[in-house]
């Protein structure tokens, strides 16, 4: 390494990874239901789509992607909840990796809730 730019490039590459190791109550949280019902319905690819998508979008230090147990609406799995301080919780149901990409694009990046994927009353 011969320049500060190279150092900066490594730092930016690693920041998402290392910055992930702190508990951040402030930012947005994406919680994927990963109980048996969720896994059976395909929650793992959804979770991975969120993890990769958030990292690609460079939002790793602002948004936490995590998992939880059974949310209780097993017939609607895979379920994804998005929480943000000061806002109502948004629950997406019957998610797929493709839907996840759309949610990242619209909701996580631009704050527009994708109403058609949210829970039915």
């Amino acid at each position: 390494m011969k320049s500060l730019e190279e150092l900066k490039a490594i730092r930016e590459k690693m920041q998402g990874k290392v910055g992930f190791r702190k508990e951040d109550a402030e930012g947005m949280r994406v919680v994927v239901g990963m109980a048996t019902c969720g896994i059976a319905a395909g929650a793992r690819p959804v979770l991975n789509a969120f993890v990769d998508g958030v990292a690609e979008a460079g939002l790793g230090d602002k948004i936490t992607v995590t998992q939880t147990g059974c949310i209780g609406l097993c017939q609607y799995e895979p379920i994804v909840e998005i929480t943000e301080p000061g806002k109502d919780k948004v629950t997406y149901v019957k998610m797929t990796p493709d839907k996840a990409k759309e949610v990242i694009e619209k909701h996580l990046k631009n704050g527009q809730v994708v109403a058609e994927y949210t829970s039915v009353k």
């Binding site: 390494m1 290392v18 910055g19 702190k22 508990e23 979770l47 991975n48 998992q67």
Partner: protein, 604 residues
Amino acid sequence: MYRSHILVCGGTGCTSSGSQAIIDKFNYELAKNGLENEVQVVKTGCHGLCALGPIAIVYPEGTFYSMIKVDDVEEIVTEHLLKGRVVTRLVYDETVKDDKITSIADTDFYRKQKRIALRNCGVINPEDIEEYIGTRGYEALGKVLTEMTPDEVVDTILASGLRGRGGAGFPTGRKWQLAKDLVKDGGQKYVCCNADEGDPGAFMDRSVLEGDPHALIEAMAIAGYAIGASQGYVYVRAEYPIAVRRLEIAIEQAHEYGLLGKDIFGTGFDFDIGIRLGAGAFVCGEETALMTSIEGNRGEPRPRPPFPAVKGLFERPTVLNNVETYANIPQIILNGVEWFTSMGTEKSKGTKVFALGGKINNTGLVEVPMGTTLREIVEEIGGGIPNGKKFKAAQTGGPSGGCISAENLDVPIDYDNLLAIGSMMGSGGLIVMDEDNCMVDIAKFFLQFTVDESCGKCTPCRIGTRRLLELLDKVTKGQATLEDIDKIEALCYYIKDNSLCGLGQTAPNPVLSTLRYFRDEYIAHVVDKKCPAGVCKDLLSFTIDKDKCIGCGMCAKQCPAGAISKTDYIAPGKKLPALTIDTAKCVKCGACIEKCKFGAIEKK
């Protein structure tokens, strides 16, 4: 991209309680469940809560698993990592409130801590330079080399008020300034690091080396630039194999990335670091002895002046700081003087790491702002004293320091306050004692250590400490007179005033401070021939309370000296004859007390 990280502590404490086997098992279980590309296992440095090791933290949730066993790993993987259900029974109980998991940062142990020197310990993989760079590593070095002059660097450290964390608390910036300015002949200068952490009970330097070795490398390079040195040496104890290994890896990686070696960041600045292993002598932690040892000679101190800033290593100007001091440097450069001086007291800025040990629940490493009281450290962070016993004193500064008694629990801890109450900061070992500790015995313990470790070069230390130990021995055997106590005090001052180096000059401190706060205990040993804490064997006698004894004979079976026999006395309502101890035969081992279920045996 991994969705979850498992941080397993690979510090010395957790390694000795088996964390490597846990890491292997995690990797095995993750592969078995097809999670190896989703969950990453990271071996980190010390988290500080050594009493609860082995420790594993799962992110992004921040779930803190403590005291886990290899057999628990499968459950954590299948429940938590596969299904997202935290294994509550394995979680550190302080983080479970009303069945909900709370943040580790809110526990008593971590809430009052402020981690600067330890900021990366337990957070990054110390064997991966890129993780360090990800936490703004080497940014301070880049800033210094491209934006600041050596004078500005020295002025920044001076203005920060940073003082040496290894003992006496000499202002670090002043040290650098002297090494930079006093000799200007254009010749070689050196930057050294004292990692010969010898105080019994202190292990913060080891933790930094094991958990964040690049911070030390970066700081030494900054010091090199500031004073005009191109070579550094780390003098580290050979008894710290994990620390040495990680430092070697770190230096190698820094070379690969061009952060050590020639022309760093293309600025023309050259700097390299070598490791020198100490062979186990306490005196080599003294600066002149340390440098003599690096030169390849027998590690003995020499008189100062000349000070190392003028004639240090190989008779050239040298800066010598300890590991914890260096660990603060990059943060001061990055965050600025104002940030650093906002923490601490008027004359002691920043934070200090303490190694908590002795009679305390949360044994481990804590970093608190200067000015925190001993009460906060012992009662809140340390979780108090086990078994409901009462606090008696805390020893700071190891064999060079002194004790702090209960009356000073609320004194804000900083360099000057500790000196005023007869102790010293030292390297930050903090050993807590309860009512079962005899203060004369504690003083004797530390003095035994300095007698063993005295290098023998000067007479006051070599012979003086030995005579002092003999006098203390007389006290603990009940053979001393009140004049002996006066002699002890006079000899202490004589050794302090006349010894060559810091070892001898501070060796009597534990004796002087226990005499200051616990003179009544000394008097009790001399006049009443009693040890109030019940520790000094020669002053104890064991007796059996006939009315409590039921004559079961368990104590007699345990007694290795055959000192317990039956009497003619049968207590009212009892069926067997009571027992009695023959004090002439008794060896005072205490085995009988442990066995007696009726509390009938007394030690006085």
